[in-house]
Symmetry: C2
Subunit: 461 residues, 2 copies
């Protein structure tokens, strides 16, 4: 295999080479993302308003669009050392299998018990909560990746962790629930009788199996109505992209060390936490005019917020209690089909990535579920790792780009983010193996219905 | 934390530092393990006889007790580079939690999709089968770790992989089955109608949910009755310990690099593949009189082959088709209770480890299931990794030794093998979390029944 003597299969940074600061890409954006709005008054959210829901330090990070580098506290670095640096892998076997002249690299974030990159932000959010002297945090989880990551971080810091888990997942996916319980989290099936909003929903729909929107509303209520608690969220927010910048910073350090420059950088995109984190430092160079890269966001055809959504102010949750955010969105009323990539089943997109996309600095494409699993299987068989369905969207796009290189003879360097492993997604693989997987693409009329749920925000904002 | 500036959290060797030869501990043993016997004639198995069941090169390795170092073929090294070197981790957080002056290290073998160290031997066995020009291999699997590892190795090499999976696991643990299918393996619930022995058992016991013994018999029959197939086994055999010596060799290189010398080396013991692999190079030093170490094998109280078994010739399988091996055993007729550590539910023990234990070169102890899960949970919460139930036996013993050091004030260095992750063992964790886990210790009478199944081998052997 071509570069084997120069470039190892896996580039591991030494612990002393790990980033000591997060990078805030907003600082280098000339046109900044639009501010968060109060969902009732439509006025920009103040730090005081946000502070009722989120920790003070995280509010500061959320609103900061001028500080480029923010120190990572030593306690967080110590935690990172238990599972980071994450390897940057040269996909020698995949290259050989595809017969491509392209050089393919992936940053693998799955080597930890949460199984994904979510842990990078979970520990940061839990740390700031602890530092503020809080008793605990509340959150929601669907499939369970974020809930698992948060429960691990809270166990480490001795913080109370309350997870509202969508009832259907709680019952049908007991394994992630048990991981969370093993880490000491209190996992409540949502809707529950522990909150006002939960009780109301149960009254109105006695047999409901819940939804992510409902679980968010319960988690927010549980945080704001109890002393010593705040709400935390695993994606979409700017603070999450900030913490996830560690992915891109490590990647860039590893590539610089070996003199590698990527031509194309690819990531799957749900709420944007992984993609935003991976591309941040590279995008910074592009924004400052120091280098040029192609960035590709890959989303499921069943939930195409960038490729078919509208750039507008929208609710982040279906319960409409969170701040409004300007983003590419399908409308909070859009109900994504039961695609197996649960982490990409979100109606909107990070406001930072939305703004970068709107400025033409990033591309986006959507891919179908079956072709994604085909790519996942091919990848698993030659590269060993069984990828998460979410991550496999990036694999599919990377393979497509590598095949294009084969046709043109170009020796491009392709980098993609392998966000996690598929060990808790075997039901989806079973469907694929049995040939019973279906693809779903929403019709224009279905999208139109989603857009009708967009709030009527005055034009002057 | 005390040594943090000297010793990183995780020691990763560079790829060029990876072992290039396996180490065969038998070469340094003055008194060798007893030879394998033909189960009918009670005469030592010849290479020719063994060659009907196993690949030629593996037969050679199985019988070799004089060559200390055996080259690892480059193709196997290339595969290893996809998931090795495995990290040697300093358990700083566990030490702090326990308040012990002891220094605790663990070699973590779970960072690959098979989730355990089994892959180290799977790729070697598949490679030699491929090199011999075979079409494929057959094997059995209970919980599925070994079957998964073998299917990954076969997918990589383009070799046919037939796994006989105990029917009750096939039906109740569909996830490992789906991983194997994703890697292209043919997974057959055992007993099946595809073999004579399977049909016979189904006739006699129409509703049976199978057993490991039956699955072994089916896999062996499927190998010997078809052209171009051989049978492979994931533990117990000397060849497996040879391949697994990569665990100990990497560990020793990493420790030598930082000037660390372990006082106590601990591993869980089922068939012995992990423990044998981890301790081999250290045991070699002890056998050659170059250094001294304490070695501790940890087994479940429910299946105590070393601590309560007999050192005698016995069948390796309940179907009694495999060669006889002299080992510490509970008798092939002993039926272990449904302990959650499926990988340790084996009636016998590697003949190499049995002989070392018999010579007093190694200690053994047994631990109860509930105390093992308690240790697993404590470990997970501070060290991040959710351990496999099997590996947690070693964690429990390491913690006990560290607590002893706290009492005596001794600064011992403790090394243990963390063989894998518990991502497919969440049912067991659920039992533990719900407080419904039970402990089982066989009575002397139950053990006696097992011993009655031992073959009557003439004394002169």
């Amino acid at each position: 295999m071509k570069d084997q003597n120069k470039i190892p299969y896996k580039i591991y940074l030494e612990e002393k080479e790990m980033p000591k600061q997060y990078y805030n890409v907003k600082a280098d954006m000339k046109k900044k993302p639009a501010p968060l709005l109060n969902p009732v008054s439509f006025k920009p959210m103040t730090a005081e308003e946000l502070g009722k829901v989120f920790c003070d330090e995280l509010v500061k990070q959320e609103l900061d669009d001028t500080t480029a580098y923010i120190d990572i506290p030593q306690e967080i670095i110590d935690f990172y050392k238990m599972y980071r640096p994450a390897p940057l892998v040269r996909a020698y076997c995949l290259e050989e299998k595809l017969g491509t002249p392209a050089k393919i690299y992936y940053k693998f974030e799955g080597n930890n018990t949460s199984g994904s990159h979510k842990l990078n932000s979970a520990i940061a959010q839990a740390y700031y909560a602890k530092k503020q002297g809080l008793k605990g945090v509340t959150t929601e989880t669907g499939a369970g990746q974020w809930g698992t990551a948060l429960s691990m971080a809270c166990a480490y810091l001795g913080l109370d962790c309350n997870v509202y888990m969508v009832k259907v997942s709680y019952e049908q996916k007991p394994f992630r629930r048990e991981v969370m319980r093993t880490y000491g989290a209190k996992v409540t099936p949502s809707p529950s009788t522990t909150t006002q909003v939960g009780r109301k929903i149960l009254e109105q729909h006695p047999g409901t199996t819940g939804s992510l929107g409902c679980a968010i509303s319960e988690a927010v209520e549980a945080a704001v109505t109890r002393d010593g608690y705040r709400y935390v969220l695993g994606s979409v927010l700017s603070q999450v992209l900030l913490h996830q910048s560690i992915i891109g910073l490590e990647t860039k350090t590893a590539m610089d060390k070996y003199g590698i420059k990527p031509d194309i950088i690819i990531g799957c995109a749900g709420g944007g936490s992984n993609l935003g984190g991976l591309i941040s430092p590279f995008m910074g160079e592009k924004l400052r005019g120091e280098a040029d890269y192609r960035f590709i966001a890959v989303e499921p055809a069943s939930c195409p917020s960038l490729t078919r959504g509208k750039y507008a102010y929208d609710y982040c949750d279906t319960g409409m209690v969170c701040p409004l955010q300007k983003m590419y969105t399908l409308g909070s009323g859009f109900i994504p089909s039961a695609n197996h990539a649960g982490g990409l089943r979100y109606h909107g997109m990070s406001s930072v990535l939305s703004e970068l996309y709107d400025q033409g600095l990033m591309e986006a494409r959507s891919v179908g579920q079956t072709e994604v699993f085909k790519a996942a299987e091919e990848f698993a068989r030659v590269e060993g790792i069984l990828p998460a369905p979410e991550s496999s969207h990036a694999i599919k796009a990377a393979m497509d780009e590598a095949i294009k290189c084969k046709e043109t003879g170009e020796e491009k360097t392709i980098l993609f983010g392998l966000t996690g492993t598929g060990y808790f997604d075997l039901k989806a693989y079973e469907n694929y193996n049995n040939g019973t997987m279906t693809d779903y693409v929403p019709t224009d009329m279905e999208l139109q219905e989603g857009f009708e749920s967009l709030p009527k925000v005055p034009e002057c904002i």
